[in-house]
């Protein structure tokens, strides 16, 4: 059975997701000893910027825009109408940038592995916990519970997809095996995505922007027989620790991170926090990229 990690990296004008994916692949090799496949629309940039890309990535799958460009190791872009979202860099800096997140639903069709862990490029792997995914018997794992480093913020939006709707699941880290049931699931996620206007009304979502976490949560609810519960989707190992984009990742040193966490009620002030030896989802892409630059330049 082949095993590996799949990461999606689609740059916008300011955020270099490819660089994050490159760093992630290195961490995956170091801690999990697994190959990584990258799915990107910036293949040319990847080959130009990272000389050792062939040793870091097992496969590069490029996103193309025309059917006539389709060859081996390419996939067709689902849409060119990308959404825009607000990216923060700490509490005082905010930018509205393009967010190309629609390809993730193709994970099942694109993965070259029998057993796959799909990871966001802004996750830092810092231990070998995910190895357990391949040893356990459940075919689909996803995080339901996550832990905010700051502690004081109200993130009830991560309990349910809206106040009156179903459980929230994080599409940030997923493990799946290639099974008939998982094929049905991923086809369903694509169906939800393609009919987003309908599903967001049925599931009482008041956000306009499409979000993978919501599409996956809706699909899990349907697969589960339209009832809450953990029958279809089991929990990924450990807990998903995260810092939001209002926090700043200041330094990465081996397995240790120094964060500046947003201070409650004091805009622009931060509390330092040291965090080590656990995987973490760093939502502040700008500070993550600055730290990766430092690590890669050492």
């Amino acid at each position: 059975m082949s095993q590996g990690v799949l990461v999606f990296a689609r740059n916008n004008v300011e955020v270099d997701y490819v660089k994050q994916a490159y760093f992630l692949a290195k961490q995956v090799k170091k801690h999990l000893n697994l190959p990584t496949t990258i799915i990107t629309d910036s293949g040319k940039y990847l080959r130009h910027e990272f000389n050792d890309y062939t040793t870091v990535f097992d496969n590069i799958i490029e996103i193309v825009w025309k059917e006539s460009d389709l060859t081996k190791n390419t996939t067709l872009s689902k849409t060119e109408k990308h959404t825009y979202k607000r990216y923060h860099d700490g509490t005082l800096v905010e930018k509205k940038l393009e967010f190309k997140n629609e390809t993730r639903t193709l994970a099942y069709d694109l993965t070259p592995y029998d057993e796959t862990i799909v990871l966001d490029s802004d996750i830092i792997i810092n231990n070998n916990l995910f190895k357990w995914c391949f040893e356990q018997p459940n075919d689909f794992l996803i995080y339901k519970n996550a832990y905010d480093l700051a502690g004081f913020r109200d993130y009830s939006e991560f309990d349910n997809i809206s106040d009156t709707s179903v459980d929230f699941y994080w599409a940030t880290c997923i493990f799946f095996r290639k099974t008939d049931t998982n094929k049905i699931f991923f086809d369903l996620v694509q169906h939800v995505q393609e009919n987003w206007g309908h599903y967001k009304k049925v599931y009482q979502l008041n956000r306009v922007v499409y979000r993978n976490d919501h599409a996956f949560s809706i699909a899990i609810h349907i697969m589960n027989g339209f009832i809450p519960g953990r029958e279809f989707a089991k929990e990924m190992p450990g807990k998903l620790y995260y810092s939001t984009d209002k926090d700043i990742l200041f330094k990465i040193e081996d397995n240790e991170f120094l964060f500046l966490l947003e201070k409650e009620k004091y805009l622009g002030e931060y509390t330092p926090m040291k965090f080590k030896n656990h995987n973490i989802h760093v939502m502040n892409k700008f500070s993550l990229n600055r730290c990766i630059d430092e690590v890669l330049n050492v």
């Binding site: 356990q136 480093l149 502690g151 953990r230 190992p237 509390t271 040291k274």
Partner: protein, 115 residues
């Protein structure tokens, strides 16, 4: 600024940082207290330890336990299982103790985050 107020504000910052570090340390210890075996997952707590200890004392060998995902798992040797969970438990709690002591003796923000 009044020196007394400055000192109080410095101490306040120290307390916020200390409490944050303690909170995250405690949370990560919960993660260290999980035992993964044969594809199953057990959160180790005193209840699990006592139950396994009772089974071992009753000279049971192979038993079925229910893991964190509510899946029944056949444990072939409960004594080995007990030994393993105790090992994980003490590794995690010893680490917790040493990290906690380090925090307790760090009297400034700089020392707390070892800058």
């Amino acid at each position: 600024m009044d020196e007394r107020l400055q000192k109080a504000l410095d101490f306040s910052n120290y307390m916020v940082t200390l409490n944050n570090q303690k909170r995250v340390l405690q949370e990560t210890v919960y993660q260290d207290l999980v035992y993964y075996t044969s594809g199953s997952k057990f959160t180790i707590n005193k209840e699990l330890i006592c139950f396994c200890s009772t089974l071992a004392n009753l000279n049971r060998e192979a038993v079925v336990l229910i893991d964190d995902n509510d899946i029944p798992v056949r444990i072939e040797n409960i004594k080995d299982f007990l030994e393993n969970i105790l090992d994980v438990y003490f590794t995690a709690t010893n680490k917790f103790h040493s990290e906690y002591q380090k925090l307790k003796t760090s009297r400034s923000v700089e020392k707390l985050i070892e800058l």
